[in-house]
Subunit: 222 residues, 2 copies
């Protein structure tokens, strides 16, 4: 039997999402909970990256994961195996989460015993970029098979994130992926973007990424 | 100097998109133009698949391509090299095309000299599935690196398409992609879905796909 809950998320009623997001961040600060919003295309490896991230940090922080999907609970079932708190959020067709929807997820999961909360957003490089979820930091994954030209096509997503994980670097030999060009496109849009090449499946690069993340969490929760 | 035009698409003003889509299809029928709507995640290989498809069919049909993107014109520049008619559509942040927006694209491109028109939709497995563009057939690509579980997570997209191309089969040895499970998930959602495994880069499987497509076009344009 599953130990996780499936929560059907309702459309938000708030008119000013930015204000709702700021309010949520303030509450998270008061509760000493760091919220990471993880975004990417479908199939870039969000869940596998989360598993590796959880393995690196679960002895230091109490972790809670919100798995957002239009349908299915395959990701919550995967994350449950890591032993951390997890809830599956169903958006019922909605293509992104805003601050009000993220709040529903946090309330459904419960944050009083969570230092480090993670929202795995809907797999979509377009719509999630337009809505502040209230997260403290926004992370995105671009996987090698997707190609190095994606910053040119989805500029808003690459502009609003704090950190970019370039995943599946183990298959670099089989794809025409120009790492230098990708970094150049990204930094032209977003000079402050932190970039970590990783392979979530093998663990390559995970230490550098989680070192950065640990510093962000400690800085927030004090 | 580029030979293609960049058209800024405006939001549609029609309240009933399904009616607009049916009307557009009727007009395309009258003009003997077949319209294919091609959808997928970012980076699954839409443009490369189009190049291979154009190479197989350009001696039989007069082809016109609409490249939709939020920003950039890298795809139109690529397709232009094939020698067919091409126009770049910019949606200015919008995450999909509906029938009214597709009509703007067709008018911008001109269809009087086109037997086979192709819309390369925004890279997104969520929103484009919700809007009938007026296309005669809907095609989608799922690439091997994205994983075989995507039908579970994006059921609407897999339900509304007529044909699924499973691309990048050349890298099957490097990924845990279960072809039989994928086909089972897809046919549970959509028993009529045609499935063609392909590698657009090497040309593998392109003949079977374009044989099917040729029959659809001939059936429509008479």
């Amino acid at each position: 039997m599953e130990g996780y809950r499936i929560l059907e998320i309702k459309q938000s009623v708030f008119e000013n999402n930015d204000r709702e997001a700021d309010l949520l961040r303030e509450e998270l600060k008061g509760n000493k909970t760091f919220l990471l919003n993880l975004m990417s295309s479908p199939g870039s490896g969000k869940t596998t990256t989360l598993k590796a991230t959880i393995a690196a940090l679960k002895d230091e922080f109490r972790i809670g994961v919100m798995e957002a999907d239009i349908d299915s609970d395959v990701d919550a079932a995967t994350i449950e195996q890591t032993g951390v708190k997890v809830i599956q959020l169903h958006t019922g067709g909605m293509c992104h989460l805003d601050a009000g929807m993220t709040r529903q997820g946090l309330e459904g999961m419960g944050v009083e015993d969570v230092d480090f909360a993670i929202l795995e957003n809907i797999g979509n490089l377009v719509c999630p970029a337009e809505f502040d979820t209230g997260a403290v930091k926004n992370a995105m994954i671009l996987s090698v098979p997707e190609g190095h030209d994606k910053p040119l096509k989805y500029p808003l997503m690459f502009s609003i994130c704090d950190v970019l994980l370039i995943n599946k670097i183990d298959v670099l030999p089989y794809f025409d992926f120009d790492m230098a060009a990708c970094e150049r496109y990204v930094h032209k849009l977003n000079p402050k973007m932190q970039i970590f090449p990783i392979c979530a499946r093998t663990g390559e690069g995970i230490e550098a990424w989680t070192d950065w993340l640990r510093a962000q969490i400690r800085d927030w929760i004090g």
